[in-house]
């Protein structure tokens, strides 16, 4: 089932000024229910402009954006932005900067409260959201979010988005700036959300070794256009092109490419460290024969 459909989307910042910049050019992309989609591309390639279209923070200048049954291109009647922003949950870069309330519970309850839900419903949602991000309700609910660690703060911020019960979750650089433990926790969280809470997840990341651990489909932005839209297992057949765009490729792919160039052919798709390790062990155990 299609969740989000974008056709020929073009966006220009500061139009008709000396600072005019084409941020998106003729982008066509479909996001389906169940997608675990990664978006990569260097700074300024259009990734953030693109995702801001998905919950109506930027209105389409040219082209079509359809999210579920909400058509963002139509002028009259005005698209239902309230519903849109409920259905598409957006976790921005450094979301912990958005925390504002004096307790964790109040912060997470802010969104649902604005939906004018009943007290019981709000409480249920806060509990669920906290459980989903792995924060014990009774222990954390009355604590100040500002006394928590970086990784914990980020989980509170993500819980605030989950409490809106979105159907699609979009995360922009969810692990940026965290220490190794915080990173691992957020990664595991995203994986578990995919299985239990939101069926469709879109992640923007600069860390290619990280994003290939969980995404199944990767979209590459380059110079305001979609350069590639491929399953993870196929994307790195284009290693040369990706490197030419100034993008990184996973370490396992680099090692495998080096081996290939030296006449050593490992078996199977090699994207993650685990893939590489088991392929090398297998190769060695078979005495170099496949």
């Amino acid at each position: 089932m299609q969740n989000i459909e974008i056709k020929n989307l073009t966006h220009v910042y500061s139009k008709k000024t000396p600072y005019e910049k084409v941020a998106l050019k003729d982008v066509t992309l479909t996001i389906n229910e169940g997608d675990f989609l990664g978006i990569i591309g260097h700074t300024g390639s259009g990734k953030s402009t693109f995702i801001q279209h998905l919950n109506g923070l930027i209105k389409p200048q040219q082209g079509e954006v359809k999210v579920f049954d909400i058509n963002l291109t139509q002028k009259k009647p005005k698209p239902d932005f309230r519903k849109l922003r409920q259905e598409v949950g957006m976790v921005f870069q450094y979301p912990e900067y958005q925390l504002f309330a004096d307790t964790v519970e109040k912060d997470i309850a802010f969104g649902p409260k604005n939906l004018k839900l009943s007290k019981e419903e709000i409480n249920t949602r806060v509990r669920h959201a906290m459980q989903a991000v792995g924060l014990d309700y009774d222990y954390y609910k009355d604590r100040s979010p500002f006394d928590l660690s970086g990784g914990q703060k980020r989980r509170v911020a993500i819980a605030g988005v989950l409490a809106m019960m979105p159907k699609v979750l979009i995360l922009d650089e969810p692990t940026a700036g965290l220490d190794p433990i915080g990173k691992k926790q957020i990664l595991n969280l995203i994986k578990s959300l995919k299985n239990t809470i939101t069926p469709t997840i879109v992640v923007i990341s600069h860390d290619i070794n990280e994003i290939t651990q969980y995404c199944t489909r990767l979209v590459v932005f380059n110079n305001a256009k979609v350069a590639f839209d491929l399953p993870v297992s196929e994307l790195f057949n284009h290693s040369e092109e990706l490197l030419a765009m100034g993008l990184d490729i996973p370490l396992a792919v680099k090692v495998n490419n080096h081996l290939k160039a030296n006449g050593i052919k490992l078996e199977g798709d090699i994207i993650t460290p685990q893939d590489l390790i088991s392929a090398i062990v297998k190769y060695k155990n078979n005495g170099g024969k496949l």
């Binding site: 600072y19 260097h42 700074t43 300024g44 100040s144 500002f146 006394d147 660690s149 970086g150 990784g151 940026a176 700036g177 965290l178 220490d179 190794p180 433990i181 915080g182 990173k183 600069h206 860390d207 290619i208 070794n209 100034g246 993008l247 990184d248 370490l251 396992a252 680099k254 090692v255 080096h258 081996l259 030296n262 050593i264 460290p273 590489l276 390790i277 090398i280 062990v281 190769y283 060695k284 170099g288």
Partner: protein, 279 residues
């Protein structure tokens, strides 16, 4: 000559709720001039506090800090210390003050009352050192993160410090930007003999520095060469850190009977060793 001498630094913060958190607990560290030291540790382990006691932004409750022999407690010498030690923080936007690159870089030396001709020379030199000469009259606000961070570094260089502390200066950058900034730091270390303290959460950025210091719970728990530090897997894990990815792959291969040689810390070492063993 010792660039940095810290002995027994101890410092506490008060929390909002009235509690007390010890940020530095009897920390001692000596850094020789020209060294490149990476400082690793999880969030809240004390790294940034350590950075801030170096130039007298914070004065520890106990202990002494000397920068090229000058004690940070000596308030009359604080400007001498601060012109010897530059800081580059996480977000370059917070460190930009002018709308034109050359003005931004000239800001530091202007405040030191340096003659105009000398300032112009320094701006030229600093821009060249970070590879941004052609952007001299551009505006920093439209640049990529890596470029902005290099401008921020040039601004520090113009003060001609002998030590630069990079406090997670690559955290907000994309891989390209990270590479650029790390390269600039290494070059300044090599060519200008500037002492570097490099604070990071990226293990791979630490693999070819001179020494790694690990902080945990307000203490320096280990300081040694990258080879020796990353051998201590248990210590790394107990401090909430990671092994560099090439090393964790090679360890995993070794444990499955693949006989790789040496401590493999870098991508190139991994490529070569794996290739050797499979040929």
């Amino acid at each position: 000559m010792k660039a940095i001498h810290i002995s027994g630094a101890t410092l506490e913060y008060k929390t909002q709720t009235g509690g007390i958190v010890r940020a530095l607990n009897n920390v001692s560290l000596d850094v020789e001039e020209g060294e490149f030291i990476a400082l690793l540790g999880h969030n809240g382990s004390g790294k940034s506090t350590l950075a801030k006691i170096l130039n007298g932004l914070l004065i520890p409750r106990l202990g002494e800090i000397e920068i090229f022999g000058v004690n940070t407690k000596d308030i009359s010498k604080i400007f001498e210390i601060r012109s010897n030690i530059g800081m580059v923080f996480q977000n370059p936007d917070n460190q930009m003050i002018a709308s034109i690159v050359e003005d931004d870089i000239a800001f530091g030396p202007e405040n030191l009352g340096i003659p105009r001709e000398e300032i112009i020379k320094r701006v030229d030199w600093a821009l060249e050192k970070v590879g941004m000469s052609e952007h001299r009259t551009s505006t920093p606000f439209k640049m990529s993160g890596g470029q902005k961070q290099r401008i921020a570094i040039a601004g520090i260089l113009a003060i001609k410090p002998r030590i630069i502390v990079f406090d997670e200066s690559t955290a907000m950058l994309d891989p390209q930007g990270r590479k650029e900034v790390l390269e600039v730091a290494k070059q300044l270390n090599k060519e200008e003999k500037i002492t570097i303290i490099w604070i990071t959460h990226y293990m791979d950025e630490a693999v070819d520095c001179d020494r790694i210091a690990i902080m945990n719970d307000a203490r320096i728990v280990a300081i040694d060469t990258p080879q020796n530090i990353f051998k201590r897997t248990e210590l790394i894990e107990s401090c909430g850190l990671d092994l560099p990815l090439p090393l964790s792959i090679s360890n995993s291969l070794k444990s499955q009977g693949i006989d790789l040689q040496g401590e493999i810390l870098t991508e190139n070492a991994l490529k070569e060793e794996v290739c050797k063993i499979l040929k």
